[in-house]
Symmetry: C2
């Protein structure tokens, strides 16, 4: 089944995980009713310039970030790393991450969380 | 952990699933050794103009395609649908799909397969 970019359920999260600004979450598919596998979220995250998602850990699950557009600084379980288009971050097994838009345009991320 | 876009393990697949041309697969992370969850593939797929992945089914797993760049025509379990940047296709529970680059530039897709 397919869904067009304009049709996603959109959620706005202010100060997400203690971060700055407002993150737009466009949910591609809903867990359990549409995704029959173990993905509990599959979405596009959009962070305006300066916005961030605060540091948090992933226990018994892992999150894949794929940077689609923009420039970011991630906290990769304690290490600061710059990320740009095409770069990925994988966070699971109890590790933590945070991410901030450090550019002057929107930061767009494809994010998938799978549980285990 | 993070990985830069230039560091992915790259695989070239000709006539993938009976399709045309050569598909470039850039594996973000390796299953089991890096991804501890049920994802058996997480990758960027690049199809040059005219290239395609032939029709195939996904049993006991599902594949998420997110179109990042370019224009495609997908066969969504028997129905032809045009897809562009930001659109998604979810194929699982025995359903099948195929996809073709119908544009004049590369088609780039983020693809994640989870088993269940």
């Amino acid at each position: 089944m397919f869904r067009k970019a304009s049709q996603y359920r959109t959620e706005l999260r202010s100060n997400m995980r203690g971060g700055d600004g407002t993150v737009k979450i466009e949910h591609f598919w809903e867990p359990k009713t549409e995704m029959l596998g173990p993905a509990r979220m599959a979405a596009k995250l959009t962070l305006p310039p300066g916005a961030s998602i605060g540091f948090h850990n992933h226990e018994k699950e892992e999150e894949l970030f794929v940077i689609v557009k923009g420039q970011a600084e991630a906290d990769d379980n304690g290490t600061k790393v710059p990320l740009g288009p095409g770069d990925t971050l994988l966070t699971g097994n109890g590790a933590g991450h945070a991410i901030r838009n450090t550019g002057d345009s929107d930061l767009e991320i494809v994010a998938v969380i799978t549980t285990y």
